[in-house]
Symmetry: D2
Subunit: 255 residues, 4 copies
């Protein structure tokens, strides 16, 4: 396998506006994540909201195997045409890893086909225990069966997502909630992983087990050289006896 | 179970523009479908593209348990705000049955999160054989294990959909293609069934076995009285020891 | 829909051997469950381990739409030929609802294809909160979004099951664990629902919301009149040009 | 990734008993498959039915990452304790690739929890077209969107399997049938791929695209270093207020 090319996208507003976040991520969440991915041998770029085209030009996306998405308070500022561009790249095979509050992003909701922004939340910094429910899954490689996070924002069910194609982690929270925290879906030729932990006021992305999960997820989501697929009007492969002449139901329009 | 309220939506252009379609469906595809649903004891309304708001007012949708969708050559004419309205109703629990070329409709693609318009097609009127691959499924009730359609438009894989939550039918075509013709998904509290057969120049919806499938699908997709779900900021159910004071990562914004 | 015929199977040992269980279920768990199913309009039989053929004769099973299974300390006493008989009936369409410690029964493990007996457990009688994660599912009809059980035995992940076809409930436990507590699978023409709550020393089956879930599950698992399916050597439906003479790879043996 | 250790198991009876099979596979199907896997850089062993313990000793299985299974006319000769041994290794993480008539093997049926031997078949040597329906799947890497096999035994639906976790290929047959030909499941920590083509009187395993699929499947099914999972009676992770004394429902028995 050649080197995986990852682009880490971050809203990059909290780190600038809030001291307590800046202390944890002095170079931004994107650079924290980028650093451990680089150490894992990946080719890493970063992009942020306030860059032109949010840093996600056609050229950047074409050069990206897996895109990581962290956003929280400015989902509405992401331009619809950039969302459409990312969407098309995922359907064409690019992997997408959506972190934490990215559940409410335009791109995630669009790929899910639901109001994925709907969930319960509470910022008490309570304990979370993340359980591996599919321990044979590639994203669980090298982990323990549970990860204890001493202080985190709570997310609780019901989480309005389609049932995951692969359910990898489920979280427990001290206040009484559960949450489907690690979920895989396939869309078009692309693969999507949603991973819950990562509130900006807790040093989640400094935890080695969390880093390991994100590294594993990038490998899992990385596209393969998939078949060229043709769409549209097509000739039969074997000769057809049952043919009818003069079918004109679809006059010059693409199906 | 009380009477199921169905709205049959039809583009209703082919029947007006093409004699060969008008002969098969003199009152429109919507009335043909509506008639056999009424006979099955359902409460039926119809709606078409050229009606104000495409016949899909808020009142109509609130009064609909299951919406049936047939569209083909004018998907682009369906207004985005009406699509959004139908989408929200599905997420809130309304069933949706998408027929034939409805695969390329805005509403279906939006609920799938893919380019569901992508498939192969051919209007040779060749033979289709529809196989039940989940014979225990409620939508297969009272059917034979296969349905032979002498002349139909071909749809072939790859069909760009998420893997169905429940795969009910797979079709064979004389020219060499296969197609996932009967597929179920859950989105929000709603249930969606895509059913392939139904090209307008063939009398598909006059076939009793096809009618039986659509009747079964309406019953399957009909919403139940589901739990009231709360979203947003929430109080703990059990008291939390691990609480942290002063978490301010999400300043006044909805998660 | 005609009256659903349910057989409630119970090991029926704890109620006889332990006073604290007998106080809660003086007529046995099977009769407690049978009573509320009768009240819901169902036709109910019961059967227990120490009856001849464990009460599950061919005649009883042929006369059963949905079988409910409660067993705990004597799974090994269930005869293999009776397990095989139940297994075949499920594949032929009978619904099966496996309760609580039935996860470790021979019949459940055989239908799962895994060591479904593998999980964590703890008999501290701690709090359980059962969350609906698929609120639009028929088994959630008429429920609240969560059910609080003040005292229950804990079951924790990893639970060694195939990923459910439909994940309906996930539980939270006071001690820090989560569990996939309500899970649906399809096997052959049959439908299976596993439902976790039900330790014998707590009055779980007296709770109205728990009763509602079991009633809903019986309705969901009830078989339909499904297609007659043929298996084995078969003639082509359309004539085949590509036929080869003298293929003898499979000499007189069933495939 | 270190070298993948594959064991190719073959019944190895047809090649000895039938000249027309011996001509195609002079060293047995197992060596044909073993040869192209070796060329792909894998560490290959073979094992056959008539070897002691069918060649599948505990030592061999412990030394196997992925087991390939080809059997046809002597499924009943495979000893139950060896089936149990393979079963346990799959649940512990070993990959398993079941080829063609292996659908009716004891091990496959046991892992499925169904009568997976149930399907339609016909030995006319007709045309098969294998379509990729999940082109982004790792098992499709480097393929075309369809593979045409000029002459093959037909397998037709209904195929009595649980709905695949990942549906990769669907086949078309000249005589009018369809078949789910490439299917993935997870069981315990193990991964299973069923792949249909491979009747012994046709040179299927000499086709480069078929070889590519089997190579891809071995890579997909190869186990990872997964978390150590603990089962059984366990201590709480966080302290429990709701504890009840004297719970004795499960007296000295493993849950």
């Amino acid at each position: 396998m050649s080197t995986i090319r990852v682009t880490v996208w971050n809203e990059y507003l909290h780190e600038i506006q809030f001291d307590q976040v800046a202390k944890i991520y002095p170079n931004g969440i994107h650079n924290c994540i980028g650093d451990f991915l680089k150490e894992a041998g990946m080719d890493v770029k970063t992009a942020t909201l306030r860059m032109p085209e949010h840093g996600l030009t056609e050229a950047v996306l074409q050069d990206t195997d897996v895109l990581i998405w962290w956003g929280h308070m400015a989902h509405h500022e992401v331009a619809d045409d950039i969302v459409q561009r990312v969407y098309q790249r995922v359907l064409d095979g690019m992997g997408l890893i959506v972190l934490h509050s990215g559940h409410a992003s335009k791109i995630f909701s669009k790929l899910m086909g639901t109001n994925s922004g709907n969930l319960k939340w509470r910022e008490d910094g309570e304990k979370e225990i993340l359980w591996a429910v599919d321990p044979g899954h590639p994203i669980c490689e090298g982990l323990d069966e549970k990860i204890i996070i001493e202080h985190e924002e709570m997310y609780g069910e019901h989480f309005d997502i389609p049932q995951p194609d692969e359910q990898v982690f489920i979280s427990w929270f001290a206040g009484g909630e559960v949450f489907r925290s690690g979920c895989c879906w396939h869309r078009g030729k692309g693969r999507i992983f949603y991973f819950r932990p990562g509130h900006e006021v807790f040093p989640i992305y400094h935890m080695p087990q969390i880093q390991k999960i994100i590294i594993n997820a990038v490998k899992w989501a990385c596209p393969r050289k998939s078949p060229d697929v043709t769409y549209g009007n097509t000739q039969p492969i074997v000769s057809v006896d049952s043919k009818v002449e003069g079918v004109t139901g679809n006059p010059g329009l693409q199906e």
